[in-house]
């Protein structure tokens, strides 16, 4: 089974939020909520400024506090590529996972269940890229199998410098940022 992940080139991302809008239309996310978002980190003093722009979402971690805390088993790691999902029917909306996620990637949908990025499993199963990857006008996001050494994502991680978010949280995130 593959281990799906994303590699995102921060040198190319312009923070346009197209990935956010595309996720909302693709997945019918209600107004006021979103599964992905942009972070702009600014360091230094004008005019010597460094800036990193990142598109963020659930990291589909390999070590998942959101799954272990779930009392109903709704929050789970799907066998298909290790994608972290929430079963909406089983979810009771208790917010345990929302609190447990160190990346603040989850929210309670107005219909009462916890919701988050699904890596667009409905598209990936059909061989398509996630909607956010497919829309990005700068082509800065790459999706693929991190366990396959010949995948584009693996090659990028071998050839470029990268970091992950909150490396010390012990979550083993599967989203990597090229710098």
């Amino acid at each position: 089974m593959p281990r799906y992940g994303m590699v995102i080139d921060t040198k190319k991302c312009v923070g346009c939020q197209d990935c956010v809008v595309a996720c909302k239309t693709e997945n019918n996310i209600p107004e006021g909520y979103n599964r992905d978002w942009i972070v702009t980190e600014v360091k230094g003093k004008f005019p010597t400024v460094q800036m990193e722009i990142r598109t963020e979402r659930c990291n589909h971690c390999s070590n998942t506090p959101c799954v272990s805390c779930c009392p109903t088993g709704a929050s789970h790691i799907h066998e298909f590529g290790g994608i972290v999902l929430v079963d909406h029917e089983m979810c009771i909306g208790c917010k345990a996972c929302v609190e447990a996620c160190p990346y603040d990637a989850r929210y309670i949908h107005p219909d009462g269940y916890a919701d988050k990025c699904t890596f667009c499993i409905h598209r990936v199963e059909k061989g398509q890229n996630p909607a956010c990857v497919e829309v990005c006008p700068t082509h800065c996001m790459y999706f693929g199998d991190l366990d396959d050494p010949n995948s584009e994502v693996s090659k990028l991680l071998q050839s470029r410098k990268w970091h992950v978010n909150l490396p010390d949280a012990g979550t083993e995130p599967n989203i990597f940022y090229l710098i």
């Binding site: 080139d9 040198k11 190319k12 312009v14 923070g15 346009c16 939020q17 197209d18 956010v20 809008v21 595309a22 909302k24 239309t25 693709e26 107004e31 006021g32 979103n34 600014v42 230094g44 003093k45 004008f46 005019p47 400024v49 460094q50 800036m51 990193e52 722009i53 497919e134 829309v135 990005c136 006008p137 700068t138 082509h139 800065c140």
Partner: protein, 734 residues
């Protein structure tokens, strides 16, 4: 793309013999309403190609219906502009359909202009009202006294209607309030405009220079895609901006220039390149005119001189000039788009053109390509009536180089003064003049003189609030429009076609124009039954099948070379037939034949220069009520240097008001204290602080830069209104 000069325009229209008799008051027809598309609620997914209308770029798109309901819009992979990826606004296009603030039915004003009190009327009543006023204006003042302000391709049918009616006055604020100085500066130098989409070969450039051009925030889709490509390939990027823009974050060199001094930097760069003989000598000897005089004059500008003006260290000026020369001719000094800054904007744009000429980048790979379009004949209409009077915008050629397009503020001026002749009617299509034109008071003053003001739009924009009649247009997903044959690196034709029915009583602009023409007795100018027949006629003349185009959305023209080195023709439509380093026509008209520096006023103590720009999720003041885009950005922020904020005791997120030099006070706006801006200016995204009460979701959200732009400098060459000349103080008590 060759722009037709004003003189040529008049000559052409004057030569045609007017065969069309104007039957005023005749041709009363009963308007029944457009036939509904009656799209079946097909189960499952339907994909329908069209092109986007969230801005003027016109990206090819594919709309998705799920069980007959509008679901999403994606890019059309066949389209050379979008290459299958829309920008965030385009992706949010479905929000235009679902926008609860949309205009729903025709409205006629009840009380005073601007009070936004309306009577809902039928289309027939609205047309009856408009036709009656138009006939009265024509009888009393002549048909020239109705003017059209129009933005975007959707205005084409209304333009045609007004030409048929007999008016030569047709303008878009995108000229004198935006890219006009750039077009004129480049035309004076190369004999051709930059055009839209810009002919910039960002994709292949090895060195990209952005002067105030904030690509990535300014979301012209193709340019942003190519920008990212250039980053990936390791192009050297030089960004000149008082604000540390997103692009600055990608740059090798960031030059935090003092606002108002860009021309000094350009002259100093050219000075270095000329003194060190770093220019493309072969290119210049082959294509250049007046180079010796030019070289003698610009070699006097030193980096040390420019340092005093711009604040950019001399070593950096030299280093960046050499960097540009290293990669020539694949160096692109980007001409920008919104160029109306300080009042000498045509000369600054000309300096950008000249710097590119020195580097030999015009017509070359990695510089400026030579665009071409799919040539599709116009619809064979009867000739327009003979124009008896010239357009009013530029009496006696006061702005001698305002060629090709008309000056919107000139038409406003004529409406106020009644000179050279009165303007009594305004048609406004798809442009919110309240935010597009500087000095709102002048616009309101002009409106007081009108006998008729009609606004056609999809949302109740601020300017719609001042209209006598407001006509609700279908959004792009519900209508046909004219063919898109934009000049580009590949010629192509794109179709916009309806995807879904209008939710209320909205109508497409072609239908509005045709029905109003019938009321005015001008039906012979609209011989087609509907837009489909119009498009079919045009396409047949080019040997293209409408059915085929409706299926693919895009059909490409046969390929052509786009670089001089590949055989594209090196033609320069200047008086000398060459690239004019020295301009005799400027000298003859009493202007600097080679650009010279003028010092601009700097903000007095305690004041900041007000700068404005774009957000990737909004277009002008058009999209703020779109629920998807509003969700991304519902109000703007005031960018202010962190040290200054600390000094003034204002916190991040706190609301403040701005007061300009004329005492105008803005709506409250949230502070964004940041290291990403100079200390002498503040910045906000344009298009917010809207005052239309009908736009409930966005009413007074954030502040309006346009409201604070009471002062403007006028470009003496082409009448552009420079708007970066307003100074503000910050009032922290709200």
């Amino acid at each position: 793309m060759n722009s037709i000069s004003r003189r040529r325009f008049l000559k052409i229209s004057g030569a045609t013999i007017a065969t069309a008799a104007i039957l005023t008051g005749a041709g009363k027809t009963f308007v029944k309403g457009a036939e509904k598309i009656n799209r079946e609620k097909v189960k499952g997914i339907q994909k329908i190609p069209t092109y986007c209308d969230l801005c003027f770029w016109k990206c090819g798109a594919i709309a998705y219906l799920k069980d007959g309901e509008l679901w999403k819009v994606e890019g059309n992979p066949l389209d050379p502009l979008s290459k299958g990826r829309l920008c965030p606004r385009g992706t949010g296009g479905v929000g235009a359909y679902y926008d609860e603030d949309r205009l729903k039915t025709p409205l006629i004003r009840k009380n005073l202009r601007g009070e936004e009190k309306w009577v809902e009327v039928t289309w027939d009543e609205a047309f009856e009202f408009i036709a009656d006023k138009m006939n009265k204006i024509k009888n009393q003042y002549g048909p020239e006294s109705v003017a059209l302000f129009s933005h975007g391709i959707g205005g084409n049918f209304i333009k045609h209607l007004l030409r048929a009616y007999g008016s030569p006055n047709e303008t878009a604020p995108s000229f004198a309030q935006c890219r006009g100085p750039r077009e004129v500066g480049f035309e004076l130098t190369f004999g051709d405009v930059v055009g839209s989409p810009e002919r910039t070969d960002i994709e292949n450039t090895k060195c990209l220079v952005l002067i105030g051009s904030h690509l990535g925030e300014n979301m012209h889709n193709t340019q942003v895609q190519e920008f990212s490509h250039a980053i990936q390939k390791g192009a050297s990027i030089i960004v000149v901006d008082p604000r540390f823009s997103v692009a600055a974050g990608k740059a090798k060199y960031y030059l935090p220039i003092k606002p108002g001094t860009d021309l000094a930097l350009l002259l100093a760069w050219m000075g270095v390149i000329v003194r060190e003989k770093l220019y493309d000598a072969d290119y210049i000897s082959k294509y250049g005119y007046g180079f010796d005089k030019f070289a003698a004059e610009v070699s006097q500008y030193t980096p040390e001189w420019a340092y005093i003006e711009t604040g950019i260290e001399p070593e950096i000026i030299v280093e960046t000039a050499r960097e540009m020369a290293r990669y020539k001719p694949a160096t692109l000094v980007h001409p920008g788009r919104h160029a109306t800054w300080y009042g000498d904007d045509t000369q600054r744009s000309r300096a950008i053109a000249l710097l590119n000429a020195l580097l030999g980048s015009w017509g070359r790979k990695g510089g400026f390509y030579v665009p071409y379009s799919y040539s599709i004949p116009k619809y064979p209409y009867p000739p327009y009536p003979e124009l008896k009077r010239e357009p009013v915008d530029n009496p006696e050629g006061k702005f001698p180089f305002a060629t090709g397009e008309q000056i919107s503020t000139g038409i406003r001026e004529a409406t106020i003064t009644g000179k050279p002749y009165p303007i009594k009617g305004w048609f406004i299509y798809g442009t919110n003049l309240m935010q597009a034109l500087p000095n709102r008071d002048e616009t309101i003053k002009a409106i007081q003189n009108l006998d008729l003001m009609v606004v056609v739009d999809v949302v109740p924009s601020e300017i719609a609030g001042w209209a006598d009649v407001v006509l609700p247009e279908s959004v792009y997903l519900e209508r046909y429009d004219d063919l898109n044959t934009s000049p580009f690196r590949e010629g192509f034709v794109g179709i916009r076609q309806p995807v879904i029915d209008e939710p209320n009583n909205q109508k497409p602009n072609w239908w509005i124009a045709k029905k109003l023409a019938e009321k005015l007795g001008l039906e012979n100018y609209f011989p087609w039954k509907d837009a489909e027949e119009y498009l079919d006629t045009r396409l047949k003349l080019a040997g293209i099948s409408l059915d085929e185009l409706k299926k693919t959305g895009i059909i490409k023209a046969p390929e052509k070379p786009i670089y001089f080195e590949d055989g594209a023709e090196a033609e320069f439509a200047t008086p000398s037939g060459k690239i004019e380093f020295y301009s005799d026509q400027l000298a003859q008209a009493g202007f600097d034949p080679i650009p010279r520096y003028t010092k601009h006023e700097q903000p007095p103590e305690g004041y900041f220069r007000l700068l404005y720009g774009r957000s990737p999720v909004h277009t002008f003041s058009k999209t703020q009520s779109n629920p998807l885009l509003r969700d991304m950005m519902s109000e703007n922020e005031l960018w202010i240097n962190s040290d200054i904020a600390a000094k003034l005791g204002i916190r991040n997120g706190q609301k403040v008001k701005l007061k300009n030099q004329d005492g105008v006070i803005s709506d409250p706006i949230k502070v964004k204290a940041t290291e990403r801006i100079r200390k002498d200016c503040v910045y906000m995204v344009h298009g917010f602080g809207q005052k239309s009460r009908q736009l409930r979701s966005t009413y007074k959200k954030g502040a309006s830069d346009a409201e604070l732009i009471t002062k403007y400098n006028t470009d003496p060459l082409m009448g552009g209104t420079a708007m970066n000349v307003n100074f503000v103080t910050i009032e922290s008590e709200v």
